[in-house]
């Protein structure tokens, strides 16, 4: 681990000022991802500005029935918050599906959003990775990528500096995307609000950037607007617990008289960012809440999939799990024979 200076600040503005003056510095939240990456040599900050106790640890009610979640709220506390559990079960379930009890106790809401990918080439400094080491190539494209992205990758050859096929690891962020959360940010130029769909980005031509945040910008809170419909999170992973998603689904569904009035759908484990299934949502609104509608909707979303050599299974897996989750939300349980 590179040597670094450790700083605490009096308030968020001071923390932002400290980091703005340290181009190689980083904010430290719970540290569950950053300290891990520092030990691996993947992250090499020379200054850490500790914001864990600086940002709010409160969950406050918003007038519309939504919540303002301080960036410093530990994941465990957020999952346990009664209002979250009652109003946004998808968020509680997503949090509880992530990591372990110990990690959730330490990880913060702000930090969770900014988790970095778990790609084995990213976390190994001896191997090529455009995200970690821009221009070094992508080890995963033709390498080990069973658990990589099927949507929105940049596929331009292993040696191309734009290539990146990895996924975003957060469960919570998938729920937040489905919930149309708004990320509140304090930066050197003041405050701004970022709709969460605009926070995480696809690799595009610059895989090194996970988000649209600028250096020195500090996530201070996340606003989750009222939802008003049943929701749930379903995660598929290689083992029963304590593993990153192969595919996950955050869904909310409003069915009236057998017709889908509103739907929110986001997928995890399939792209460089939490994937809002806007096409599926569009197709589904106004359709009967049937298995056939759900299947047609998710298939319209997955038409854009460009699976890699070894991860095509994620397409039928995502399709099945989305359909099942929507059926559960619709209160239906259509038995389906094994194909």
């Amino acid at each position: 681990m590179r040597e670094f200076r450790y700083e605490r600040a009096a308030d968020p503005a001071a923390a932002v000022a400290l980091l703005a003056a340290a181009p190689d510095g980083a904010f430290l939240g719970g540290g569950t991802n950053l300290v891990d990456l520092m030990k691996l040599g993947v992250a090499t900050p020379d200054v850490l500005v500790d914001v864990r106790e600086l940002t709010s640890r409160e969950v406050a009610d918003l007038p519309d029935g939504g919540l303002r979640i301080g960036a410093g709220v530990p994941n465990a506390d957020l999952a346990a918050d009664r209002r979250v559990r009652e109003r946004f079960p998808v968020l509680a379930q997503a949090l509880l599906a992530g990591a372990s009890g110990q990690l959730r106790n330490r990880a913060t809401t702000g930090g969770n959003l900014l988790q970095r990918t778990r790609c084995g080439y990213f976390t190994d400094v001896t191997k090529p990775c455009n995200k970690r080491s821009p221009g070094s190539g992508c080890g995963a494209l033709e390498g080990v990528h069973r658990n990589h992205a099927i949507l929105g990758q940049t596929i331009a050859g292993s040696d191309d500096p734009a290539t990146c096929v990895t996924t975003h690891p957060s469960d919570m962020a998938v729920a937040m995307v489905a919930l149309d959360a708004v990320v509140r940010v304090l930066g050197p130029d003041g405050e701004r609000e970022i709709p969460i769909a605009e926070l995480h980005r696809l690799p595009g031509s610059d895989p090194s950037r996970d988000t649209t945040l600028r250096h020195g910008e500090l996530v201070t809170a996340i606003d989750v607007p009222a939802l008003g419909m049943p929701s749930r999170y379903r995660k598929v992973r290689d083992r029963a617990s304590f593993a990153f998603a192969l595919v996950s689904v955050a869904a909310a569904l409003d069915v009236r008289d057998g017709v889908v009035r509103d739907v929110r759908l986001a997928l995890g484990g399939v792209a460089h960012k939490p994937w809002r299934a806007s096409a599926a949502e569009y197709v589904l609104r106004g359709m009967p809440a049937t298995e056939a509608s759900f299947a047609a909707a998710v298939e319209s979303e997955l038409e854009a999939a460009t699976p890699l050599r070894d991860n095509a299974f994620k397409v039928p897996m995502a399709r099945n799990v989305v359909v099942r989750t929507l059926l559960d939300l619709a209160g239906r349980d259509t038995e389906r024979e094994l194909a």
Partner: protein
């Protein structure tokens, strides 16, 4: 870059100089030679280093020592009061809830953590209704909540009843 801190561990205060890079786990094991918490992966992937930090279970390998401040660190050894073993200690021995014993202090701290979390009504990934007022530590609940602690000897099927007995005594299991 060295930093002077005082760690409060199992009821005793320990002033010491640490590198800013020093984790709580290394401060305990390497500097203070408090070796109840174990190093199994150093990346938050196994749970052997689990301690209670102000009563909450955390992976001490991912906590930088300089960030700990006044928080009280409790190790499995520190759960014994006046050298009297904790109920979890006795239950783990009685149920043979370990083999090599290396992951065990972390398992015990994690178990203490989940008992408190259950008392507080916290749901888990297997709780059918996350909005329920209370939670009962069924076998499946224990399995899920203890899954942040890997046991390569695979004493899992003994850890579950070891925790269940104490949960019953504490009223978070029928």
């Amino acid at each position: 870059m060295d930093s002077q801190i005082t760690l409060r561990v199992d009821g005793a205060a320990h002033p010491l100089a640490v590198d800013t890079r020093t984790t709580l786990l290394d401060a305990l094991r390497e500097r203070l030679r408090i070796t109840s918490p174990k190093k199994g992966c150093d990346h938050g992937q196994c749970g052997a280093c689990t301690v209670l930090l102000d009563g909450r279970r955390v992976n001490s390998c991912l906590v930088l020592a300089v960030t700990v401040g006044d928080a009280e660190v409790t190790t499995s050894d520190g759960l014994a009061v006046d050298d009297v073993p904790h109920a979890l200690h006795r239950s783990f021995v009685e149920h043979d809830a370990f083999q090599c014993g290396y992951c065990t202090p972390g398992q015990v701290c994690s178990a203490a953590g989940i008992l408190a979390e259950a008392r507080a009504g916290w749901p888990s990934a297997v709780t059918p209704d996350v909005a329920a007022d209370t939670v009962e530590l069924t076998d499946d609940e224990i399995r899920e909540r203890m899954s942040g602690n890997l046991c390569r000897c695979a004493a899992y099927a003994n850890i579950v009843p070891a925790v269940a007995d104490v949960a019953r005594a504490e009223g978070v299991r029928r």
